[in-house]
Symmetry: C2
Subunit: 256 residues, 2 copies
């Protein structure tokens, strides 16, 4: 690419979240930044897109800096579609999503708006990275991971993320100096056992809150959960071809 890279920034916690403000400040050191992000929190939206309703999108100024910003009424995947196909005049060199307030490791990648935005970019042929910190607090301290995010982003731009792939980067919640390094990992084979907290509303009707317990039976040292539990940053390359190629011959043998 000639000159500074064009970088599209989005997230799922909303355009004013501390995580995306940190990510914008890092990307301003690397390239020309355009932000297209949700106007409200969109956590756990998965790969939802808006087809039965309209989208609003308008220019906004949240804080200082050279970035150009748009606030959008849609989901994270909508924001990426709008950014690439409507707002930007040329294809971005990179799309970054986050920094998410909370983990998107292992099975969480499936439910994650942050990662769906990155995957949507990769479907559109744009190299993409999702960043998440294992701290759900709105006051999470992102300062200690800025250097690592810059390093991963620069290396991604210089090496080129393989086509059809987005990087799922998760940071353990610890001081910068305590981080042992970076591991390229598999998605751990973990899941949630859901527990529904049943309550009664003032009108006497039942309702539920979804809660759950995270179960990780994957003991492999190649998994992202192992890396994070042992003080490493995890990077899982993710793809949008969901085909389970390994079982095709088996199902063919059913003679349907």
């Amino acid at each position: 690419m000639k000159g500074k890279p064009l970088i599209l920034v989005t997230n799922d916690d909303g355009i004013s979240a501390p995580g995306i403000r940190t990510l914008i400040s890092v990307m301003n050191e690397i390239g020309n930044v355009v932000v297209v992000a949700p106007d409200s929190p969109q956590s756990a939206m998965g790969h939802a897109i808006t087809i039965n309703s309209t989208l609003q999108c308008h220019k906004i100024k949240i804080d200082d800096g050279p970035q150009i910003e748009y606030s959008c009424s849609g989901t994270p995947a909508d924001c990426v579609k709008l950014g690439i196909n409507e707002i930007l005049k040329k294809k971005p060199d990179l799309c970054v999503s986050g920094i998410n307030h909370g983990s998107n490791s292992s099975i969480n990648v499936i439910y994650s708006g942050t990662m769906s935005a990155a995957i949507e970019a990769s479907i559109g042929g744009v190299p993409a990275i999702g960043f998440s910190l294992l701290d759900y607090s709105w006051k999470a301290d992102f300062s200690g991971i800025k250097n690592i995010i810059k390093n991963i982003t620069l290396k991604s731009l210089s090496n080129g993320i393989p086509e059809g792939t987005a990087l799922n980067v998760n940071f353990p919640k610890m001081k910068e100096k305590a981080i042992k390094g970076i591991k390229i990992c598999n998605q751990a084979n973990a899941y949630w056992i859901e527990k529904f907290d049943k309550r009664i509303n003032p009108q006497g009707r039942e309702y539920y809150w979804l809660t759950g317990e995270f179960i990780n039976n994957d003991k492999s040292i190649k998994s992202d959960e192992w890396a994070l539990n042992n003080g490493f940053v995890s990077i899982v390359p993710v793809k949008f071809d969901l085909t389970n190629h390994e079982v095709i011959e088996k199902i063919k043998s059913w003679n349907l």
Copy 2:
């Protein structure tokens, strides 16, 4: 399993959609059916789940038949979580989702509420199948595919769907006798080029409708698009491990 299988039925078009009514009628011929489905259309919701709001779920009777039915305020993935973890007293032997009014082949699997429900079941260790007909009409004719759905379901129960896998079954829009057979396929490497239809609301503000053009550059005869375009039912086994294993060594060579 002893006796009739316990089958959880859901969809994304809503509990009163003709597609799910057809699917229930077929499943009633095979097992004991419990329906937990959205109370309103949830198309293109991807793998969204409800974590920042409450869920309502109540027993309902839509039409005749032995099935037990629950209408739920959440997404398709919420319905499956509620069904497996709260409503059913034992783990179902199978979860079926659909019949979707419209295609969930190739990249559409990513955005599909129908398939996210099936994938959610497979994460929870329940064998699962999503069924979709390539006809978006509310008046789509599902009668011609009932026999094939029954056959696929019975073969899935007797052979056992491989663990961690859900089947993505799509039917071409044609008469039953014209269908040439069933192909076990790869997800085609296709995508949407989005076009945003920009309009002005009565208050003078811009808004957008998402529209798009489907682009399929995948000419492989192993792809689901090829099968559907050539008169076959397509079955793609899908998994929830999104790791792109093939590029892990390449990214390790970046020496991050």
